[in-house]
């Protein structure tokens, strides 16, 4: 009697792994490098004041951001961004789990959510500033109010659609409420939750910049607007480049966490596709 029909993952041969990594890197960096080269040639052929050459921007980048500005503007911005993301994710998952599990609460709240979700968070900036003052709290509140929605709504949906057989299994083995939450409801919802978190990251980054454009005297968003208004074009572009790099960094961190949390999910999908 053979028991172990092998669907167990066999590791790839090392040489092929390296070839694959090389190929992926080439794909990831190929287009950006090509675009930079075209941009560089273009700007040297016909110089335009608003589109300086990449080398000028690189120079401005080093001058502007490596130094005190990093500590005074970039780090506080990143700190507020990190706090807001953590708050949005934690609050979104906590509230979403409760709402997803309690039917009457869900039916009560969902129409209101549709309304609040439709309100663009930047319009709340003056109101929040009046309520809590023009400070870091205001910025965090604005970021959280915008970034929480994808997490919240995806968690509700993920928790609500827990598989009925899985739930009956838990019931039949008299698994306790807290165990059910930890070992069934949250893992089952985790693919949806991670989808929400991914969207949450980009919204938070956008709102980080916007929240620093009003009633502010420091921060990455403030600096970019400052450079713009003072015609420091290369510096402005370097700020935009820095924003892009932060976005890439967030995506890398997210990818790392996602691969860990959803390892089983990708495994299941791989088996289903095979």
């Amino acid at each position: 009697m053979t028991l172990y029909t092998s669907t167990v993952v066999t590791p790839r041969k090392p040489s092929r792994v390296w070839a694959k990594i090389g190929e992926n890197t080439a794909y990831a960096l190929g287009l950006p490098i090509l675009l930079l080269v075209i941009w560089g040639i273009w700007s040297s052929i016909s110089p335009a004041p608003f589109f300086p050459s990449p080398l000028v921007i690189a120079e401005a980048f080093v001058e502007t951001w490596i130094g005190p500005a990093f500590v005074n503007d970039v780090l506080p911005s990143l700190g507020r961004l990190a706090i807001s993301i953590v708050l949005a994710v934690v609050l979104g998952i906590a509230a979403g789990t409760v709402i997803g599990l309690v039917r009457w609460l869900r039916e009560l709240l969902e129409p209101i959510f549709e309304f609040f979700r439709a309100v663009p968070p930047p319009v709340l900036i003056p109101i929040v500033a009046v309520l809590v003052g023009a400070n870091d709290t205001m910025k965090v509140v604005v970021m959280v109010t915008g970034a929480i929605w994808p997490v919240l709504l995806n968690t509700i949906e993920g928790v609500r659609s827990t598989d009925s057989v899985m739930t009956e299994t838990a019931q039949s083995f008299a698994i306790t409420r807290s165990e059910r939450l930890r070992f069934l409801v949250l893992p089952a919802a985790s693919p949806r939750i991670m989808t929400g978190v991914r969207q949450c990251l980009s919204i938070a980054l956008i709102l980080m910049v916007i929240s620093e454009m009003f009633f502010s005297s420091s921060g990455l968003g403030y600096q970019i607007v400052f450079f713009q208004r003072n015609y420091l074009i290369a510096q402005m572009w370097s700020g935009i480049v820095l924003l892009g790099l932060i976005g890439v960094l967030l995506a890398v961190i997210f990818g790392f966490v996602e691969r860990r949390v959803l390892r089983w999910y990708h495994g299941v999908k791989e088996v289903e596709r095979a």
Partner: protein, 275 residues
Amino acid sequence: MPESRSAAQPLLTVEHLRKVYESSTGSVEAIGDISFQMNAGELVVIVGPSGCGKTTLLKCIAGLLRPTSGVVELEGKRVTGPPPNMALVFQEYGRSLYPWLTVRGNVDLPLKHKKLSRAERDRLIDDALVAVGLDHAAKSYPWQLSGGMQQRVAIARAVAYEPEVLIMDEPFAAVDAQTRADLEDLVRTLHRERGMSILFVTHDIDESVYLGERVVVLSKSPTWVQEDLSIDLPAERDQLVTRALPRFTELRTHVYEQIQRAKRGEAVRPGATAA
């Protein structure tokens, strides 16, 4: 392990169970009137025509569904919610095992609230995995295994839980024929060697006769017990020998005819006016 119980009290009693599903388009009587008893240490197979409400019956027994009327009693205690001394094995193994837990984690999960020491739990898990022949796959995830092996994991989970009664809802309907024969023998072994009380639901007539000590034949919906048949085959069963016995063929034919009568609605419910 279950001790010898007094014969006076049956393990499981189902009395005048009736289930009516209310819906916006009207009510559907799934189960008419089912009564039967099961003693500790028995292996009872419930068989019936498709759509006869077998799963509804099981869910009522397992406390997952509330019957419209009638009583289910486990060890003399009325079942109103899922009883702690009962384990279930579902047909959909893929949806009953948790893909984010390893095989070991899945078997361990129901034991967490059983107030056992870590060592005791480990012993139960190892023992159950050996019993189903999966001790080498403890660290794998369910989705890395074949269907038959996944169902073995579900069985191991139920075995480790040490229930008074194990309920299996068409557990082998979704696996291939060869695996199915292996799993049938596994169920027989668990019953014989561990004295487990098993209530097994199937739509497969051969399987019901091969596995059971008793076969309860259900009528078509609204369901009642059409026959409660004792299977007088030797306790030691073998896929080749037992299935070749003349008595096996007789019993199989008998059950088959009963099912055919049930499908045609010929059998008349005792003490009831024609529905």
